[in-house]
């Protein structure tokens, strides 16, 4: 394999990794704290993509500067995080925390089906395009191949998100409370932590991250029905590979998957679709807790 191809695979892989990371990190945050494998996350992604594409379309038709698109992406993710996050957590999950984990997954699957149609009702079946932010940044040439600068900014955004989450979890008051809740929900409740509030805030953050993934992705994809279905299994795979509930795990998991997929696309396109799930199965077989799952103390 020649050197140029290696660079191409690396850059392509990192772009894809950052896309996966942005989607998967919200899922892993929610799983880590609430122990809920949230299928609705696919809808958060789809909602983010639709709202951002819609707003960017309105914005540029109004003749406003294209750079505002980035603001709109952030705004739509924030709005959705608050609205959807509160609706799903307060309206659904609240009632299910003491139920069997499979039932909770299935309930989020049901909510996912409902939200899929809500998206169709709001935005219809026609695809939306929001190319303005993409066009604004132009492109650059790496190893003889043209890359969109916008896609490259996604890598930077992923690192920012990863750093902010790491800092928030390890260096702030709320992060310490969160760690206590993750470790033992009942004891932290006894210590006077308002677990209900912690759960709600975490879920809003997770929803925001899912929507942000979709919104930031909107300019480089065609926003159409079915994007949520596709994304959620990918996110599952990444989260399982890295270790469920681990943020560094999600980062490593998405890099592994992203580069493996890029290598497959350039070298062996036939296996592109299942290489990800192949890795997922291998990881589950040899390290079922994920590559980087935190070591857990055994509780009696």
């Amino acid at each position: 394999m020649d050197f140029e191809l290696l660079i191409v695979i690396l850059v392509d892989g990192l772009v894809y990794s950052s896309y996966l990371f942005l989607v998967a990190v919200g899922l892993t945050v929610i799983f880590g704290v609430q122990k809920v494998l949230n299928v609705t996350h696919g809808s958060f992604y789809a909602f983010g993509a639709y709202l951002a594409a819609y707003l960017i379309g309105l914005w540029s038709r109004g003749g406003l500067p294209d750079a505002g698109g980035f603001l709109l992406i952030l705004v739509s993710a924030l709005i959705l995080g608050l609205i959807l996050g509160i609706i799903i957590e307060r309206g659904l999950l609240k009632f299910l925390y003491d139920r069997d984990e499979h039932i909770v997954v299935l309930a989020t699957f049901a909510a996912f089906l409902v939200l899929e149609d809500v998206i169709l009702l709001i935005w219809g079946t026609d695809p939306y395009l929001a190319f303005q932010p993409l066009a604004l940044l132009g492109n650059s040439e790496i190893a003889g191949l043209i890359f969109d600068n916008y896609a490259l900014t996604m890598i930077a955004l992923s690192f920012v998100v990863a750093y902010v989450l790491w800092y928030g979890l390890n260096r702030t008051q709320f992060g310490r409370i969160l760690l206590a809740v993750i470790y033992d929900r009942e004891i932290s409740m006894a210590m006077g932590i308002n677990v209900t509030k912690v759960f709600l805030i975490t879920f809003i953050i997770g929803t925001f991250l899912g929507a942000l993934g979709g919104a930031y992705h909107a300019p480089i994809i065609s926003v159409q029905p079915g994007i949520g279905v596709e994304v959620i299994v990918l996110a599952f795979a990444v989260v399982v590979i890295g270790g469920m509930g681990s943020i560094p795990g999600a980062l490593i998991g998405s890099i592994v998957v992203g580069i493996a997929r890029a290598a497959a696309v350039h070298q062996l396109p036939e296996i592109e679709l299942f290489v990800i799930y192949g890795i997922m199965a291998l990881v589950l077989i040899f390290r079922p807790e994920g590559l980087f799952a935190p070591i857990k103390a055994r509780k009696i």
């Binding site: 296996i271 997922m280 199965a281």
Partner: protein, 332 residues
């Protein structure tokens, strides 16, 4: 022997006879709904068998798709008889379950669910790329023969329906008897306390492996029936992850109380899906999802629990009235 001929046996037998007679009066579209009900119901019985151990698979579309695509591959090879197809589709899926079972029996809870899902997505990825099987467009299934006999027109679908109900009857009964056997009963013990089961001298893993094979066989058979009914197989409607989700949906809907209830649940699902699609095509998923949420919230043990609930109430009312009588007699 009389232990085996219980209420469920008579219920299933009555259902078989009823459906056999009904077959002559059904309209074409009803028969299609019936066939799809039987196909999905079979998979859901497999999931029920697993659920009794407290295990849920989010990837049984793997075996379902395996059965369905076996039909496609055998037709390419020139084999076209429904009995051969049913046997081979079921056997191939069963063999796959035997192999994967050695691995999957070591997993519990969410890991079991997700590893199944990973395998089903691998099959999806492979099928979407195999061009001789039509990749994402899928491939058509031509009309089958019945032990060499070729049926035409309406009798074809009637014949298909008879074959499907007979096979579903036999499978459901076998699953029911299995669940009543020692090995079957043990699985509930595995759910409650696996370590204790091991100390009693049984192997929990072997029990789970047996269940996994049964569920694989049933899902493979369901796949064959579905493929022949629809006349077309493609990765999106046979192996993609929401297909597995639908199977779990049916299991929740029916509850794990009884294998017969699973067919009722599957019928409710099929009608819900057909009518929602017919009358509200924009919101059919919303209706399905809404129904599932209502069941989870208000009927956590599925439709079957309505019956036991009703029974309990009657029993309570009965004991109350007899207490009242006793009290009255005391007054005298």
């Amino acid at each position: 022997m009389s232990r085996l001929l219980d209420k469920t046996f008579w219920g299933l037998t009555a259902g078989l006879v009823f459906l056999f007679l009904l077959n002559f009066f059904l309209e074409e579209w009803m028969r299609t709904i019936g066939l799809q009900t039987l196909a999905r119901g079979l998979v859901a019985i497999g999931l029920l068998v697993l659920w009794r151990t407290g295990m849920v698979s989010f990837g049984h579309a793997l075996f379902f798709g395996f059965g369905a695509y076996t039909v496609a591959m055998m037709q390419i090879a020139g084999v076209n008889d429904i009995f051969v197809l049913l046997f081979c589709g079921t056997a191939v899926a069963g063999l796959l379950a035997v192999g994967l079972g050695f691995l999957l029996r070591q997993y519990r809870a969410i890991f079991f669910a997700l590893l199944n899902m990973a395998f089903s997505m691998i099959l999806y990825g492979v099928l979407a790329k195999v061009e001789s099987l039509g990749s994402t467009d899928g491939i058509g299934i031509s009309q089958v023969t019945f032990a060499g006999v070729k049926l035409e027109g309406e009798t074809y679908r009637m014949g298909l329906f008879v074959v499907a109900i007979v096979f579903a009857y036999i499978s459901a009964l076998a699953a029911h008897w299995y669940l009543k056997s020692t090995l079957g009963m043990m699985t509930m013990a595995v759910r409650e306390n696996e370590i204790r089961v091991e100390y009693l001298g049984y192997s929990a893993e072997k029990a789970i492996h047996a269940k996994y094979i049964i569920s694989g066989l049933l899902a493979g058979m369901g796949g064959v029936i579905m493929a022949v009914t629809v006349g077309h197989v493609d990765p999106d409607s046979m192996v993609y992850w929401p297909v597995s989700g639908d199977f779990v949906f049916i299991t929740i809907l029916s509850g794990t109380g009884n294998v017969g209830a699973t067919f009722i649940g599957a019928l409710v699902y099929e009608l819900l899906r057909t009518y929602a699609f017919e009358f509200a095509p924009e919101i059919w998923q919303l209706i399905l999802g809404g129904a599932l949420l209502l069941i989870i919230m208000f009927l956590p043990d599925g439709l079957w629990s309505i019956r036991s609930e009703w029974r309990n109430r009657r029993a309570i009312a009965k004991s109350r009235s007899s207490e009242d009588q006793a009290a009255e007699q005391g007054h005298d």
